[in-house]
């Protein structure tokens, strides 16, 4: 779930309450909304710096350990126990504070279990604020990298090709509520995407036997961008949104796509999101060493794992590495990959492509032989038109299109006229068309679409006599556009009510509804026929399929919308911190003291119950210890838990004779 969805689902008051938290003071003063603030690099960084140590440690652990993947509460608390120095009560405070400030969200299952997540579209911004990286630009000269050379067309163009293929083809659903196989194949082809670069990601999608992953992925992106919408009978372009999207500067378009991609993938890849996010945080224009980025990440995750107690935590081995991410970004046309010599070693390097921040349109070059060169600065609206009028010949810059009879014929089908095509080519090409191009267009437009079928409304009379009657009515006669045969007239659909009134007035009320005898009978169907019953089942199946199609193409790892979003503070039972603290003597947390063995046991039991840490004087040295369990073996007892030494907890088992003095450590701000 991302910020956009959350904004739709959360009450305004809850959204406003986030910004009332101290951490967002700066953003609030700037007049930002929560949705703006959490994705704004500066505002988010300031807020994150103001988080309490508990909230900050909790967020860091979530970012490193789970990414934007949803996680069950129990697993989250366990991980906080394993990977941080915090005691349970401190973790709960951290979680609570993050929820209150709009960093962490939860859904609640019916039986009360909660699932937590951070909005996937915030991941990169927060990761950068929590773990700022500064990769050093590589200054050695770059050389192509085998297997990933050159640059690919930006993903925005591929989306445009997909939508163009959809608009040119059949976007209606079959009885199963899916696009036809033929259309699905055309979309596949249009994307020009090497699917293997996507399949390495642990994604899941609907109707796998029908749609490829890349098509499901691109349709989801298009849908999320609002370019495409599902209607009852099929998919339709959202023309207004399309118009705005096509008019964007290329940098903005690709940036939006990158954010969407991040938002979609980060939900699935857990801790591996860090690789993608680190890459996405690198600034454009310079080459960076992939090896260096890998080392930075390894340093970060190693330190986290070192904090975890060796051998005691679930392995978080990476499924994905830098290579999968860089090759995906390269495939999507956003990144260049190369090789360079750094300190005598050949290393792989990457560079984000720089796209124009403003539209500086370049004219098409329309050649006399019908070839059209579309230079890099060619606007997307013109590219959209070229997709209709020509066949794309290459994938280089500039792109080469070739006008063809089939494409022009299809353009006529789509409502273009010869004049429209000529005007477009002249305007976009910045000059007169050559004689040959005009001749080609004349040739190709001279034959196609000279005939067409049109749905018209027919006024059908049941006899010649009634036809004569209709013609004789002075008010009605002008509304009879054309007589077909003896008994039928073409009329305007918009005139039907008026014609109905006039006929009624003349004493001949027409049949109700539209259609003749057969249509009238069908509106009151017979349920006796087996044929009819089968038909009804098909319709139901179709409806189910449509509902299924509406769900999504690309699925989510956990479908959060199936559960109840924790929307208000009152929905979420208050976390009871330090239960029973009132029964604990204040001296226990105020000073280090030596206690009798039996009191020591009670002390430790109380600490476990309160989920707090204790301080122990061990061999004269004060150490922090988070007790987890008091074990009784016959007359002997011991306490197990985590001994905190610096950043690194160690699992320890202590018997009461091992420490001299002790005191409870309450979370900051409590008990002082």
């Amino acid at each position: 779930m991302n910020t956009e969805q959350l904004t739709r689902m959360l009450p305004d008051e809850r959204l406003r309450s986030f910004l009332r938290q101290d951490v967002w003071l700066h953003a609030a003063e700037r007049g930002m909304s929560w949705q703006e603030a959490v994705k704004d690099r500066e505002a988010a960084a300031i807020a994150i710096n103001r988080l309490s140590a508990y909230a900050s440690d909790t967020l860091k652990m979530i970012v490193l350990r789970f990414g934007a993947e949803p996680v069950a509460e129990e697993k989250l608390i366990q991980a906080l126990r394993d990977y941080t120095r915090m005691a349970g009560a401190e973790s709960r405070i951290g979680v609570k504070q993050l929820e209150s400030a709009g960093f962490l969200f939860a859904v609640q299952k019916l039986w009360g279990e909660k699932i937590y997540w951070i909005p996937s579209d915030c991941y990169t911004v927060w990761q950068n604020a929590l773990f700022p990286f500064a990769l050093s630009p590589v200054i050695s000269s770059a050389r192509p990298l085998a297997g990933a050379s050159g640059i690919r067309e930006p993903f925005g163009r591929r989306i445009l090709y997909l939508l163009a293929a959809l608009a040119k083809g059949d976007a209606s659903f079959t009885a199963k509520g899916l696009l036809s196989k033929k259309t699905a194949a055309k979309l596949d082809e249009a994307l020009l995407l090497d699917e293997s670069k996507l399949t390495v990601f642990p994604l899941d999608w609907a109707n796998k036997d029908h749609y490829s992953l890349k098509t499901a992925f691109a349709l989801t992106v298009s849908s999320e961008l609002g370019l495409l919408r599902k209607e009852e009978g099929g998919l339709a372009l959202h023309t207004e949104r399309m118009e705005a999207w096509l008019a964007l500067a290329e940098e903005a378009r690709e940036r939006e796509l990158q954010d969407r991609l991040g938002g979609m993938l980060f939900r699935w890849v857990g801790a591996d999101a860090l690789f993608g996010s680190i890459l996405m945080g690198a600034s454009g224009g310079s080459w960076y060493s992939i090896t260096e980025a890998e080392k930075l990440i390894a340093g970060l995750t190693d330190s986290m794992h070192e904090r975890a107690m060796r051998g005691q935590v679930e392995s978080a081995a990476s499924r994905l590495g830098m290579s999968e991410w860089t090759h995906l970004f390269h495939e999507l046309g956003w990144m260049e990959l190369a090789e360079a010599d750094v300190e005598g070693q050949a290393v792989q390097i990457f560079r984000w492509r720089a796209f124009p921040r403003e539209n500086t349109p370049e004219d098409l070059i329309v050649q006399p032989n019908g070839e059209i060169w579309a230079p890099p600065g060619c606007g997307y609206a013109a590219r959209w038109e070229l997709e209709l009028l020509g066949e794309r010949v290459n994938a280089e810059e500039p792109l080469l299109y070739r006008l063809s009879a089939a494409a022009v014929s299809n353009a006529l089908e789509q409502g273009r006229t010869k004049g429209d095509i000529e005007r477009f080519l002249q305007t976009a090409g910045g000059g007169e068309l050559s004689v040959h191009v005009r001749a080609l267009l004349r040739e190709w437009t001279g034959k196609a679409c000279r005939f067409s079928f049109e749905e018209v409304t027919l006024l059908r009379c049941d006899s010649d006599e009634m036809a004569g009657h209709a013609k004789s009515l002075a008010e009605l006669a002008p509304r009879l556009i054309e007589q077909i045969g003896e008994r039928d007239f073409i009329v305007e659909s918009s005139s039907v009510s008026e014609i109905r009134r006039l006929l009624q007035k003349s004493g001949y009320p027409p049949r109700k509804g539209i259609g003749g005898v057969k249509a009238a009978a069908a509106s009151y169907p017979s349920f006796l026929s087996a044929h009819e019953r089968a038909g009804a089942e098909e319709v139901r199946a179709e409806q189910d399929a449509i509902s299924n199609e509406r769900a999504s193409w690309l699925l989510e790892p956990i479908v959060l919308r199936h559960y109840q979003l924790v929307q208000n503070a009152q929905d979420d039972p208050e976390v009871v911190l330090l239960p029973g603290i009132e029964r604990v003597p204040a001296a226990w947390w105020r000073e280090m003291r030596s206690y009798h063995a039996s009191t020591r046991k009670e002390f430790m039991q109380q600490a476990v119950s309160l989920e707090t840490a204790v301080q122990l004087r061990l061999n004269g040295e004060i150490r922090s210890f988070v007790p987890e369990q008091v074990e009784q073996r016959g007359q002997e007892w011991a306490v197990t838990g985590r001994m905190i030494a610096g950043d690194r907890p160690e699992r320890s088992r202590l018997t009461p004779d091992m420490w001299e003095e002790m005191k409870l450590v309450l979370p900051s701000g409590i008990g002082s």
Binding site: A142, R143, P144, S149, G150, I151, E336, A338, E362, I365, V366, Q367, P368, N369, E371, W373, P375, P376, G377, N394, E396, E397, P398, A405, S434, V435, H436, R438, A439, L440, E443
Partner: protein
């Protein structure tokens, strides 16, 4: 990054030259390092291939210099892939050498490259002995095939195995032709011959000369023959062309008729200079038979083999050429592009491109005529409308081609161009016979005996018959130097090649205004218009444009409306 540069380099080394920008420097660069692919409209397409790049290196260019020059003319940032490819190909240049040592063929060169090639089965199979890291002993017959394979793999090889001198033949160019006309090589012809005949470390030797139609490729061949001074085998694309070679040799050199012959015909005579056709060389009774005339390659001790229209070189001759790499070879062509994609093979077997002349440059310098092309749309004769509508699809084209309304248009065009030598070219004999009869012009078809053909050519040259009606035999190698007008009545479907061949008939320079006119008559509203548009593509890609004229009062002159009106009124 965008600048005002006039070239756009794509990552696959396709290069677009925007002629709307000041492009002289860029054009000069591309002519040196790339192959011209097409010159349509304002953006011309070139391509850097391994061979074109090595040709440039052999002409003294450096890889880094090419990259810098490409960058300096480039509108956008040079793709890294393109830059790296130039660097890679350039780095391999000069690293391998073929040589002869005591009668044995050796491949020597860079140890690292030879190590890479050792893993390639298609190369290793020709090695008799891997003598060391830098020298291999080869099977002697592989010289051509190996060069071809190395080129395919992207490794150029210097062929320094030397040439067989052949039987000496003293030949001198005349200062005045046998017909008494002063004769001197044009500067570009001189340059092409010089490059071919010199033999330095980086250039010269066997190779290909590319010149537009009508710029005197034959003269380059003859001059090369005189310069080498050895017995020569000349291969051409048709019998007529062979005879023209013979006539030119006798006209422009001191060779006597007994030392020059056209192979074939009545006797299978072989002379010190023998001219044969590809068709004859590749003739065999059945697929299982041998090519019985292929022995011509070894019939005499040839010191030079000239391949005319080398882009038409048939596969068996390719194979034969691969086995005679010791003989010096010269290829002549007007086009760099082979339809079968074997251009690289041509270069590797015949030799690199030594000279390439831009068509438009040739036109600007009046080495070829300036041809104006026009398509005239003619309405279908009323009497044929019904039969056209009722005809089966295949018959429709023929009815449109034989549109009776075309004849009055031909008459108008002939009247407009007065007594300029004119070819009326068509596909269907029935139509051609009727037209010839109506115009009172001689008809030349495939059935016309050779002697009769030659007589008709002579009469045409002499102006006795200013109009010649010809069938598709005009497509190939009919050399009518004074034809200034061609009127195409009909053609073979959408054949671009045929259209180009027919326009090519007009390219020889003309006295006076050096102008020529090509008209194609097309029946309006029929399938013929679609085919006509397709036929014109090749010429468009050579930089030509077609006027579109209706067959009404203003159609006659594509260049001058006033004159047209007069002609129409007259």
């Amino acid at each position: 990054m965008q600048s005002e540069g006039s070239i756009i380099v794509q990552s696959d080394l396709t290069i677009l030259l925007d002629e709307r920008q000041p492009a002289a420097g860029a054009r000069e660069l591309l002519l040196a390092v790339a192959e011209a692919v097409k010159r349509v409209g304002s953006v011309h397409t070139y391509k850097i291939t391994p061979m074109s790049l090595w040709n440039a290196l052999s002409a003294g260019w450096e890889g880094e210099e090419m990259i810098e020059r490409l960058k300096s003319h480039s509108r956008y940032e040079l793709p890294m892939q393109a830059e790296a490819t130039v660097r890679l190909w350039a780095s391999r240049y000069g690293k391998l050498k073929l040589s002869m040592d005591g009668g044995e063929l050796l491949l020597t060169g860079d140890a690292q490259i030879l190590q890479q090639l050792k893993l390639k089965g298609s190369v290793a199979e020709w090695v008799r002995d891997f003598r060391g890291e830098t020298e291999w002993l080869l099977h002697p017959e592989c010289r051509g095939v190996l060069k071809q394979e190395l080129t395919r793999l992207g490794y150029p090889v210097f062929d320094r195995a030397g040439y067989h001198a052949g039987q000496a033949l003293s030949v001198a160019l005349r200062e005045k032709t046998a017909g008494g006309v002063p004769f001197v090589l044009r500067p570009y012809q001189q340059q092409a011959v010089s490059i071919f005949s010199e033999e330095s470390e980086t250039s010269g030797g066997s190779g290909v000369v590319v010149l537009p139609c009508g710029t005197g490729k034959t003269i380059v061949g003859i001059a090369a023959l005189a310069k080498i001074g050895a017995e020569t085998l000349i291969l051409t694309s048709s019998r007529t062309s062979a005879e023209q070679w013979r006539d030119e040799l006798l006209d422009k050199t001191n060779l006597t008729p007994d030392s020059v012959c056209v192979y074939g015909g009545k006797g299978k005579q072989v002379s010190p200079v023998t001219i044969a056709t590809y068709q004859l060389l590749t003739y065999r009774k059945s697929k299982s038979d041998d090519f019985r005339h292929m022995g011509l390659f070894n019939e005499r001790d040839w010191g030079l083999i000239i391949y005319d229209e080398v882009h038409l070189l048939p596969a068996p001759v390719f194979r034969m050429t691969a086995s005679i790499q010791a003989t010096r070879r010269l290829g002549l062509t007007a086009t760099l592009v082979r339809e079968d994609g074997c251009a690289e093979d041509v270069y590797s077997l015949i030799g690199p491109k030594h000279y390439d002349m831009n068509w438009k440059t040739a036109e600007e310098q009046a080495y070829i005529s300036s041809v104006s092309c026009a398509e005239i749309r003619v309405p279908l004769a009323d009497a044929q409308v019904n039969s056209y509508r009722a005809a089966a699809p295949r018959s429709k084209l023929r009815i449109a081609a034989e549109n009776a309304n075309k004849l009055p248009v031909v008459r108008e065009l002939l009247r407009k161009h007065g007594d300029k030598p004119t070819l009326v070219i068509g596909q269907y004999l029935k139509q051609l016979k009727e037209v010839a009869e109506e115009l009172g012009a001689p008809l030349l078809t495939g059935e016309t005996p050779q002697e009769e053909r030659l007589r008709l050519y002579d009469d045409f040259r002499a102006g006795e018959h200013p109009v010649l009606v010809v069938s598709k035999v005009a497509n190939l190698a009919i050399d009518l130097p004074d034809a200034a007008v061609a009127i195409q009545l009909s053609g073979s479907f959408g054949s671009r090649q045929e259209e180009a061949q027919r326009v090519g008939r007009l390219l020889r320079p003309k006295s006076g205004s050096n102008e020529a006119w090509f008209y194609t008559l097309v029946t309006e509203g029929t399938k013929e218009t679609e085919f006509a548009l397709r036929r014109q593509m090749f010429m468009l890609e050579q930089g030509y444009d077609y006027m579109q004229l209706p067959a009404t009062a203003d159609w006659l002159d594509p260049r001058d409306g006033s004159e047209t009106k007069e002609a129409a009124q007259g």
